[in-house]
């Protein structure tokens, strides 16, 4: 759209139906260019945000499935209540806490994920505080991928969502 605004907008055949279109006739080349730049400026950060959202959802789902697979039949109400609270925490609680136990396995990997998480949080909360270490989409993907690859079904699902435009 930016390229259209920058290079071709004024050369379009405005004498016909295009010139009578209420949405298009008042748009200017400069306006289109400005708007497209505004959108594109934030696109990288939006991509990091979406990548992390998919990653977070996949990890929560996976942890919950793994936990449920290990549970014996439970009957005591106190244990059942504690378990429900734990599952609620995995599904909707702090993602930092969900990842925390995995530091025992691969602290470096979890720290790499947490660095992306900090940048995502900074973007999601309106960039109001000091910028943490900057993350571009390629780096975000390369840092989140190893965590997902530990479970092939999840990496397959992530790829599917990314390539079908179903992110988020």
């Amino acid at each position: 759209m930016g390229r259209l605004g920058e290079k071709h907008w004024n050369d379009l055949p405005w004498d016909g139906g295009l010139g009578r279109d209420h949405h298009l006739k008042d748009l200017t080349s400069a306006g289109i260019l400005d708007d497209s730049r505004t959108v594109l400026d934030d696109l990288d950060d939006l991509c990091v945000l979406l990548l992390f959202s998919v990653f977070e959802a996949a990890i929560r789902e996976r942890v919950l499935a793994e936990v449920e697979a290990e549970l014996p039949p439970l009957r005591h109400v106190a244990i059942k209540r504690a378990l429900d609270e734990m599952k609620e925490g995995i599904e909707h609680g702090s993602f930092f806490k969900v990842l925390e136990p995995y530091k025992d396995g691969d602290a470096n990997l979890i720290e790499q994920v947490n660095q992306v998480r900090r940048y995502r949080n900074w973007v999601a909360h309106g960039r109001r505080t000091g910028q943490p270490a900057a993350v571009d989409p390629t780096t975000a993907y390369s840092r989140l991928k190893p965590g997902l690859l530990q479970s092939s079904s999840f990496s397959g699902r992530l790829r599917l969502r990314l390539y079908t435009g179903g992110v988020g």
Partner: protein, 156 residues
């Protein structure tokens, strides 16, 4: 005790470190911009372009608030901007990584608004080097030929 003496005595150690880091980064950006300008001048292209200094207000964890320069390269109605992104950056240097220097020590973007090239700074005991990367090509050293090719692509 004067105010200056008081501030010097009570300045938190982190503030000294923050300031040093900030000044080092701002100086690195100034060197990069001077290099880019020099390349344009050397090849006689600077006179065909309108070079406009930019200034950005940044706030980074570990550095605090600071002002840093950028550059707008105008050619007719087209503009390419050189925009400092941050001193702290998560980016692996790929084949240019060395032990203890695996990650970039700063990032600057060159963009026309639609397409973007990332400049990553590699910092070692031997000095600093700028590398360039984009979606289409892997990371490689930034030199005059690369810079000219990037400008031509972004201005076309």
């Amino acid at each position: 005790m004067t105010l200056r003496e008081f501030l010097l005595k009570n300045a938190p150690r982190e503030e000294v470190s923050r300031r040093r880091c900030r000044e080092e980064w701002i100086a690195a950006i100034d060197r990069l911009l001077a290099q880019l300008r020099a390349w344009l001048t050397d090849t006689g292209t600077a006179e065909l372009l309108d070079l406009e200094p930019l200034e950005f207000e940044k706030r980074e964890q570990g550095l605090g608030a600071y002002h840093v320069k950028g550059l707008a390269i105008n050619f007719g109605e087209r503009t390419v901007k050189v925009v400092p992104v941050g001193r702290l950056v998560l980016a692996h240097l790929g084949p240019y990584a060395e032990a203890g220097h695996e990650n970039a020590e700063g990032r600057v973007d060159i963009t026309n608004g639609a397409y973007k090239y990332f400049l990553y700074r590699k910092l070692t005991d031997a000095g600093e080097q700028w590398l360039i990367q984009d979606e289409r090509a892997g990371i490689r050293p930034l030199d005059r030929d690369q810079f000219e090719a990037v400008l031509q692509a972004l201005l076309s």
